[in-house]
Each structure stands twice: as C-alpha cells, then as structure tokens.
Amino acid sequence: MKTYKNTGNIDTRSGFGAGLAELGRTNPEVVAMCADLTGSLKMDEFKNNHPERFFQIGIAEANMIGIAAGMTIGGKIPFTGTFANFSTGRVYDQIRQSVAYSGKNVKICASHAGLTLGEDGATHQILEDLGLMKMLPGMTVINTCDYNQTKAATIAIAEHDGPVYLRFGRPKVPNFTPEDQKFEIGKAVALTEGNDVTIVATGHLVWEALEAAKTLEDKGISAEVINIHTIKPLDETAILKSVRKTKCVVTAEEHNFLGGLGESVARTLTLNHPAPQEFVATNDTFGESGEPLMLLDKYGLNAKAISEKAEAVILRKE
C-alpha cells in the first residue's frame, strides 16, 4: 500500500493564509475582508502587503457578505474570512440571496470548522456548514485536508468563476499532500489502492483514513482511500469506480451525518450502484469543549472509528 509522509504538523488555516498571500502577489483583482479575526484566519500577510485591497469589516458578518457581493460588481474577486460558524449559519440568508441567487463571484473562506476547534466549544464548532452550503444552487463546496492542499485550493478558487465555500480548520495536523500539487475543483484524489473497502474522506479525516488503512492492512484488509476535497460538485465517477470494485464504502467527515459528504455519497450510490455504506460523522449532535484529539475520539471521528466501520461494512457485503 502506498504510504504518505507527514512533513510536519501545521494548521490548514495557515495554508489559506499562504495561498491568499500568493494571490495578492499574482492577481490584482483579488480583495480580502475579515470580520475581526485577521490573525486567526492568517490573513495578516495579505493585509500587510496590500492594505488597499484589504477591508476590516468589524464584527459584522452579514455586512461583510453583502459588501463582498457588491465588490464583485466591477470585477473584484472577494475572499471573506471568519470562523466557519459565522461564515455560514450566521449569514445564511445573505449568502443565499446576495451571493448564490445573485450568482456573485465570492469566495467564502471559513476556518475553525468542526470539533477540532476544540476548547471554545459548541457555539463555535459548526457541524452543519457543509450541508447548509451544499444545498445552495450554484455553490461549490470544498473541505481541504492539509496545509498544502488548502494553499493550492485557495489559489485555485480564484480562477473559478462563481461562489465557493472553502472550509478548513484550526489545529496543527499532518501535512502530507504534495507541495506542488495542482488543485482541480471537483476531482477526487486517489490516495491508496485497495480491493476490500473504499474509504471516502474529507478534511481532517483524510489523514485519519490513511492511518486506518494501515491498521486494516495489518489485518489483511486492503482499503482504497479517496480524498474528496470537493463535496460539491462531487466526483461521482471516482467514487463509483472504486465502489464497483470494493463493493462497500465508509465515508468520513468532521460534520453531522445529516447533510454532509456521506449523504452525498449515499445518493450517488443509490442512484447508480447500491452498496453498503457506513458513516464516520457526528451523530446529529452538538460538540463540546475539549482538546481536539480527545473530542475526535469521543465523537468517533478518527482512525480507530474509521477502521472499525470498515470492518463492519465489509461484513455487510452480499
């Protein structure tokens, strides 16, 4: 089985900051704005290098989304930055009407998504944002897995004409995807080849899926790990090709099972190639305060949970 080397733990939000800084140098139409979380979103480099293109909105996320929508008129490409909860749930109607329905080229960039936000607790740990965003017609939804992928995705979405939700996180996590990767929106990345089970993972759980695949290999189970960084549009071709071979799937995401990646995969399978599926996701619950790794363990969102679900789903095969 192909293995991946962690080149060092680093937060995905720093990948966003690095990507945004590069866009600042390469694309004069890119503007950035933040609702009083510039440091947390790692937007300082862009802000310092391009003060005329950076807008401090203050703690007013609804206004930020509206301003971003307006700034597209005249050709700017706005990147908004705040926590995932304040990027989505707080401003859903603003995104729906002023961005999505209006077809505006706004990039909604969201950090501190999911349980791994940690100690701040459930008020900030949104586990519903992927569902909220993927339901909006025309919205592209991306959840990146490490620093390098987040940087590449940040750069790539500037070239995409249309609204995008880019989700990343707070904790330092393994960085293992290639530094020079080409990020293709809507294109799954096959990480390992396997015959017994497909593991479709997104965000922080991609590394956990790779760890699970190692555990499974020790038990003689060959797992095919697919990194789905784009939840919408979903790379159905890649998923179906793998599941036709393995005949079962585990989906893994730092999100509620309702509305997340797993449900999108289930729909794809139901319509095209019904197969047993198990979900690694939160179980219709809010989170709580705690250390990120302990929370992932408590809520069943880690390599251990993925490998257990993989063994369970294999038993369900016809």
Partner: protein
C-alpha cells in the same frame, strides 16, 4: 426649475405600468411602487449616467441598487422605459418563465438588475461593496441605492450604516423611502424608527431631508445637491418623505395597498386618474 412635460408624462405612464402589472397577476406591491415613481423617474431619466447596453460590471457608469425589492413594479417599468429591455415584457411580470420575478433578481438575466433583493436589509451592504470597488478601480461614478423605512428595522442595515460612516464611503447616495408605513401598519405603531436624521448623523452620515418626496423638481434638486456632497469623506442619505400609493386617490393615506392588487373596477378608477401618455405595454 420647471419639470419637463416629458418627465411628467413618464411618471404618469410608470404609474399605469405599476397598476396594470399588479392587476394582471392579482399580486405584487403597488403602494410603495407608486410612492417611488417620481424618484425612479428622475433618477433614471435625469440624474444617473449609465449605459443602456447593460453590463454587470458597470465600469464608468453610475449604479443603482434596490434594497426593498418588493417595489419591483416601479423598477421594472422605469428600467424598460429607460431602454434596458422591451416595454412589452412588463406583460410577463410574476408569470412563469419570466425575467420579471416577483422580486428583482440577476438570476434570469434581466438587464438593469445587479443584485437580487426581496429578503430585506441587504442592499446597503451590497451598495457599499460596489462603492468600494469603484474606488479601487479609480472610477469616479457614483452608487445610488433605495431602501424602505420599515426595512431599517433589519439589523444588517446598521452594520452597513456604521461601516459606511466610519470608513467614509463617500461615493454612495442612499435614499430612504420615508413613507412611515409598512405591512402591518404605521411604522410608529410597528416599531418606531425614532429620529432618523439624528441616527444617521450619529453614524457620521450627511443627511438630506426631502420633504416633498413626490415632487419631481424637489427630488431632482436634492439628488443634485447630494451629488455635490460626494467625495467629502461622508456617505450621503436622503430621507425622502413619500406618500404610499401616490397618484391614486384611494390608495393614498393608508398602508392597505402595500401588497394588494386592485380589482377590475379599482384598476379602471386608478387608470382614469392617470391617463395614458407614452403608450401602454
């Protein structure tokens, strides 16, 4: 300054368009539309510098954003009669497969519309964003916007008002349709707005009071004054006192026609008070 016959005829025809649109589909919002017929007519016929060859980016043009999207009948009438799309398309208002949705949208590609509105309170932020882009682009043209007074009950407006005042967004002229009425009744009964002039001034806006918000000359004079006040580190707001249902006697002095269409008989009465001028669609 005396108003041209053309502008008077234009407004009369716009009133007919509003009434006929909402009557045909027995839905829509005639009251606020009629109240702003003069404002839209002056803005599009005499004040704004724009291209009829619609382009979303609107570089080197003045731009207008309608925040209180429910008064779409007046917006559609004035856009079509200003050359953005065929006047006969008003016949499709609120019907299936139309570009003239109940509330304005870019989604069906209607020329002249740059943002969807309908869910209230969002237009001020959008207008500010467009104003910021104009500045970045070195484009000296202006941003105009219109908002309902009741709409100011939406909190997002006050985020936007704070931002524009504090950051000195001075290429923006926002107008409040200050008719003091909303769906459930008088604004003072629903949720009083208090002293709007003092409130905007406290947020560092330049306030112009337009007491005769249905008078063509007064509107034009005020808008021209507002233009002269741009570029002075302050956004500008016009508190435009209008009469909901203006130009139709039985629709004035009440909030009853906010979102109700006239029946056949009422339509004929209303149209008789506004004889055809530029030709019905």
């Amino acid at each position: 300054m005396s108003t041209s016959q053309h502008l008077q005829d234009f407004v009369t025809q716009v009133r007919r368009d509003i009434l006929r649109q909402v009557h045909q589909v027995n839905s829509g919002h005639p009251g606020g539309s009629l109240g702003c017929a003069e404002f839209f007519s002056v803005l599009y016929q005499e004040v704004m510098d724009y291209s009829k060859d619609f382009n979303m980016d609107g570089v080197n043009e003045d731009l207008f954003f309608l925040s209180n999207g429910h008064i779409s009948p007046v917006f559609y009438s004035v856009l079509s009669r200003s050359g953005f799309f065929p006047v006969k398309e008003l016949n499709t208002f609120r019907k299936i497969d139309s570009r003239l949705q109940g509330h304005p949208t870019t989604h069906e590609g209607l020329p002249g519309v740059r943002i969807a509105s309908g869910s209230l309170g969002q237009g001020m932020s959008v207008a500010i964003g467009a104003a910021l882009t104009k500045k970045l682009n070195g484009d000296s043209h202006l941003i105009y916007s219109l908002h309902g007074d009741g709409e100011l009950q939406e909190g997002q407006n006050w985020e936007a008002i704070l931002y524009a005042g504090s950051k000195g967004v001075d290429n923006l002229i926002a107008t409040i349709d200050y008719n003091k009425k909303q769906i459930d009744g008088a604004t003072d009964d629903v949720l009083p707005l208090g002293d709007l002039k003092k409130k905007f001034e406290a947020f560092d806006w330049k306030v112009l009071e337009l007491k005769e918000g249905n008078d063509l000359d007064a509107i034009k004079t005020t808008l021209e004054t507002a233009k002269e006040l741009t570029g002075k580190k302050q956004p500008i707001v016009i508190l435009m006192e209008t009469e909901m249902g203006n130009g139709v006697d039985f629709m004035m002095g009440t909030h009853a026609w906010h979102g109700k269409a006239p029946n056949d008989e009422q339509l004929q009465t209303a149209l008789s008070q506004n004889p055809e001028t530029l030709g019905d669609y």
